[in-house]
């Protein structure tokens, strides 16, 4: 076991440097992956993204709120094999409403200002992932787990 600070700093810098993550949901047991623009809280307890309520991922989450999200720093160059980092974040997702939705939407648009119209559309849902664990992969094979909420 090691002190969390360096790990948390690494994860935060990875989140900061990447706009998009790959969200994993499932439909009747069949895995389904989607690219989403995400934002996060600095204490790493919440990741959030927006989606139309008509999407497959929205339906999948409605049926099972357990998800994983992969956020990585790959550059699609050779150096990825020793330099790229990736975090798999696991947790449960709910649709935010009321004050929570308003606050998080504001934060979301600071990070993704060009999604303003999308966010304010009536069919758009702001989805909040309560983070359970972050699994950080560095230097090709070093894997560290950071438990955010038991």
């Amino acid at each position: 076991m090691t002190h969390p600070t360096p790990v948390v700093e690494t994860i935060l810098s990875l989140f900061d440097g990447q706009q998009l993550g790959v969200l994993s949901t499932h439909c009747k047991g069949h895995p389904y992956a989607s690219l989403v623009a995400f934002a996060y809280t600095d204490d790493l307890t919440r990741l959030f993204f927006v989606t139309s309520r008509a999407t497959r991922k929205y339906d999948n989450i409605a049926a099972d709120d357990r998800v994983a999200m992969l956020i990585d720093s790959r550059s699609n160059q050779e150096i990825d094999f020793h330099e790229a980092r990736a975090v798999t974040v696991t947790g449960r997702v709910h649709e935010a409403s009321g004050d929570e939705a308003a606050t998080l939407k504001e934060r979301y648009l600071i990070r993704h200002p060009f999604l303003k119209n999308f966010v304010h559309a009536p069919t758009c849902a702001l989805m909040v992932m309560r983070v359970q664990r972050c699994i950080l992969v560095e230097q090709f094979q070093n894997v560290t787990e950071y438990e955010v909420a038991p």
Binding site: M1, H3, I135, V137, F140, V143, T144
Partner: protein
């Protein structure tokens, strides 16, 4: 950019293309100084080979297994060996091969060649990589030359070069290499000349040996040394060594030959020749504008400059020491054979005698005063042998490394550590001790009822167990790792009995035989021409002897320590019983000295880090023993922890100390914080065919006893916990 440039055309080529050595040689040639005819294979050829062969990322991955600054020398050496093998086994891109063949074509004839590094960063005023990059002497033909060019390129990533670059604070990854291919000038006398001595700024210096100067450069042959007054050029002193051998060309490469009696009695240079060499060094100082370190050879009356570089040591003595240190990481075949002779024929027998003498001393009947003297004497003996351990035994481990390099150069195996298969199953004392322990366990196994009846640790054993147990303790002594845990003799016995009952509950560990070993040996020897086979056999024998000593020396040192402990134990007993007087004060002093004595123990582990919130799931180390094992971790943080080791557990420790090897057969796998393929723990793991991963950062801090651990000894990974534990 051209791939091959003649020395005479180098004048305007940037140093980044041709390197420091080629630039200096070209300037000397233009200034009319005789230099060997040469061509330069530019750094563009290196760049093409590395990028088209896909080596760049593989090199970086090798050096990124853990932060480079945290890698121990042994780990850097392992990485360097893997990288070297990448160069040797990567085929030439066809167009590069064709371009080099064409470029070298006009230069190559029947004459022997020298292939040497010319790194853009070396031989500058800021840094000297002298001796850290490879040079090959007496190479013939295109194929051999191209092979040697790969060898020179690989030496950019040698352990010494990597560590030196780390020391200089540069980016270890930003490196490139040009290569000089020269005609070999076989001088009758060779050496070095300093226009300004690295040690005394008012002096110059000249050193000379008979034959080629490879022996001088690698330290195998001690040179004649002249100190000169820098102003007047007058010789201030001539130091003569015992001259016995010289280095000359063999069928391929070079080797040491005995000197004739007449030459052994005669300095290699006449006084006027010394002056001539010093004058050339001074002339080059004027040419280059800085004090020079010149390598020269004298052939049929002509003085040839082989290379010249600025002396970097005047202003930065420290970095020169470091360079020397990194150079000392490699030893020549001759040097190691001399060391082998000294160790096997003198030092080890002397150690055995020292142990025997101490074992015979009647400690119980000595007066307190004599006992204090005895402890003092034993401390001195111990001190001396700890010195010998660091200065003679540890450097001898280079014998394994030399064999590994020769094997890989000859065989070019896919697995750069294949050579270790030829080293295992040499008769190691540690393995002999473990076999004795197995025999004892077998006796305990036949009395399986006893462990249950008498509890975990019976005090009284039947004579058929007690006698061999006592004999074992008499032979192999106490377990030094239990020191400080109370009465040692009782503790040793109790721990041993616990261990034996644990071993008796399970089938005996078997040592696998490596069936491929004879075949590998034949393959290795088959790579050498008839005239070189003796050398190949010699290097293999050296590797085996060095490998054996890597384990045995620890046993010998343990025996010395045991004898010292015996005397100290007796002293402590008397102090506990007796009253205080001047004699007991002396005894007490000696025992206190015992507490601060030098030992051969490894450096302490990484500093523990706090805060149990983050848990490692998978940690990268070095694959040091092939195989895969799963089990509960037994983390060794204090000596007592080892006593709890159960059959089938994964031994997680800072270092497998030599006196812990008895525990290895119980374990299903080994995880070690200290890194290296050739460290003691890795050697023993391979003897038992156990999966082993070494160089795992903070292993004993990040893993807890009882954790579920998977050891992947193929990939060098340690995986913690169940895969489902995340959900």
């Amino acid at each position: 950019m051209k791939l091959v440039i003649a020395l005479s055309d180098i004048r305007d080529a940037p140093v980044a293309w041709v390197g420091g050595k080629a630039t200096a040689l070209a300037r000397m040639k233009w200034a009319g100084v005789p230099v060997p005819d040469a061509v330069c294979v530019t750094s563009e050829a290196y760049r093409l080979f590395v990028s088209e062969g896909g080596l760049k990322e593989r090199i970086l991955m090798e050096l990124s297994r853990k932060p480079f600054a945290q890698m121990r020398w042994e780990e850097v050496w392992d990485a360097a060996l893997r990288i070297r093998n990448l160069f040797l086994t990567t085929p030439w891109p066809p167009h590069l091969y064709a371009a080099l063949a064409e470029g070298l074509n006009g230069f190559l004839d029947e004459r022997p060649l020298v292939v040497r590094s010319s790194c853009p960063g070396e031989d500058s005023a800021e840094s000297s990589f002298a001796g850290l990059h490879e040079s090959y002497v007496n190479v013939r033909g295109l194929e051999a030359t191209l092979e040697r060019i790969k060898g020179v390129w690989a030496s950019l990533w040698s352990d010494g070069a990597l560590l030196y670059r780390r020391e200089l604070g540069g980016d270890v990854h930003l490196s490139t290499m040009a290569v000089i291919v020269q005609h070999l000038v076989t001088g009758e006398v060779s050496g070095v000349g300093f226009s300004q001595s690295p040690h005394t700024s008012s002096e110059g210096a000249v050193e000379a040996v008979y034959g080629l100067n490879q022996g001088l450069v690698d330290g195998t042959i001690e040179p004649d040394h002249w100190r000169l007054d820098r102003e007047t050029g007058a010789v201030l002193e001539h130091r003569e060594p015992l001259r016995s051998s010289y280095v000359g060309p063999d069928s391929t490469g070079v080797r040491a030959f005995p000197l004739s009696g007449a030459k052994a009695q005669t300095p290699p240079l006449m006084p006027e020749e010394v002056t001539r060499i010093f004058e050339l060094a001074c002339r080059l100082e004027r040419l280059f504008g800085a004090a020079q370190d010149l390598e020269w050879t004298l052939a049929k009356g002509t003085l040839h400059a082989l290379q010249s570089r600025p002396i970097t040591t005047l202003d930065s003595g420290d970095s020169s020491d470091r360079n020397g240190l990194y150079q000392s990481l490699h030893r020549s075949y001759e040097n190691l054979n001399a060391l082998r002779e000294r160790i096997e024929n003198h030092l080890l027998p002397e150690m055995v005698r020292a142990v025997d003498d101490m074992a015979e001393a009647p400690l119980l009947t000595l007066s307190d005063r004599d006992l204090a003297e005895e402890i003092k004497a034993r401390l001195e003996v111990n001190e001396r042998w700890v010195q010998v351990y660091w200065t003679e035994f540890i450097p001898y481990a280079h014998g394994i490394r030399l064999f590994g390099q020769v094997y890989n150069d000859a065989v070019k195996p896919e697995d750069p550590f294949e050579f270790t298969s030829l080293l295992t199953h040499t008769p190691l004392m540690g393995m002999a001790r473990n076999r004795r322990l197995n025999e004892l366990a077998e006796l305990f196994r036949t009395r399986g009822d006893l462990g249950q009846e008498a509890g975990r640790n019976p005090i009284h054993l039947p004579p058929e167990l007690e006698e061999p147990l006592t004999a074992y303790i008499d032979t192999y002594g106490a377990f030094p790792w239990l020191e400080g845990e109370g009465s040692r003799s009782q503790q040793t016995r109790a721990s041993l009995v616990t261990l034996l009952f644990e071993m008796a509950r399970h089938p005996p560990a078997s040592e696998p035989t490596i069936e491929a070993a004879p075949q590998l040996e034949a393959q290795f020897l088959g790579c050498f021409a008839e005239g070189e086979k003796a050398y190949a056999r010699g290097v293999l024998a050296l590797g085996r002897s060095s490998y054996r000593l890597r384990d045995d020396d620890n046993i010998y040192m343990g025996q010395l320590e045991t004898q010292l402990l015996r005397a100290v134990d007796e002293g402590r007993k008397r102090l506990e019983e007796g009253h205080e007087d001047t004699v007991t004060a002396q005894l007490r002093d000696e025992i206190e000295r015992f507490g601060i004595r030098s030992t051969i123990k490894s450096a302490a582990s990484d500093t523990p880090v706090g805060g149990p919130v983050v848990k490692a799931r998978q940690i990268m180390g070095q694959p040091a023993g092939q195989g895969m094992a799963q089990g509960r971790a037994r983390v060794i943080r204090t000596p007592k922890d080892l006593g709890g080791l159960k059959h089938g557990e994964i031994l997680v420790c800072d270092v497998v100390e030599p006196n812990m090897t008895w525990a290895v057969p119980l374990a299903a796998g080994i995880v070690e914080r200290r890194g290296g393929m050739l460290i003691h723990g890795a050697i023993i793991a391979r003897e038992y065919g156990l999966p082993c991963v070494t160089g795992v950062p903070d292993a004993t801090q990040r893993i807890e006893t009882g954790d579920r651990v998977t050891v992947d000894g193929y990939l060098g990974m340690v995986i913690l916990g169940e895969s489902t534990s995340v959900f």
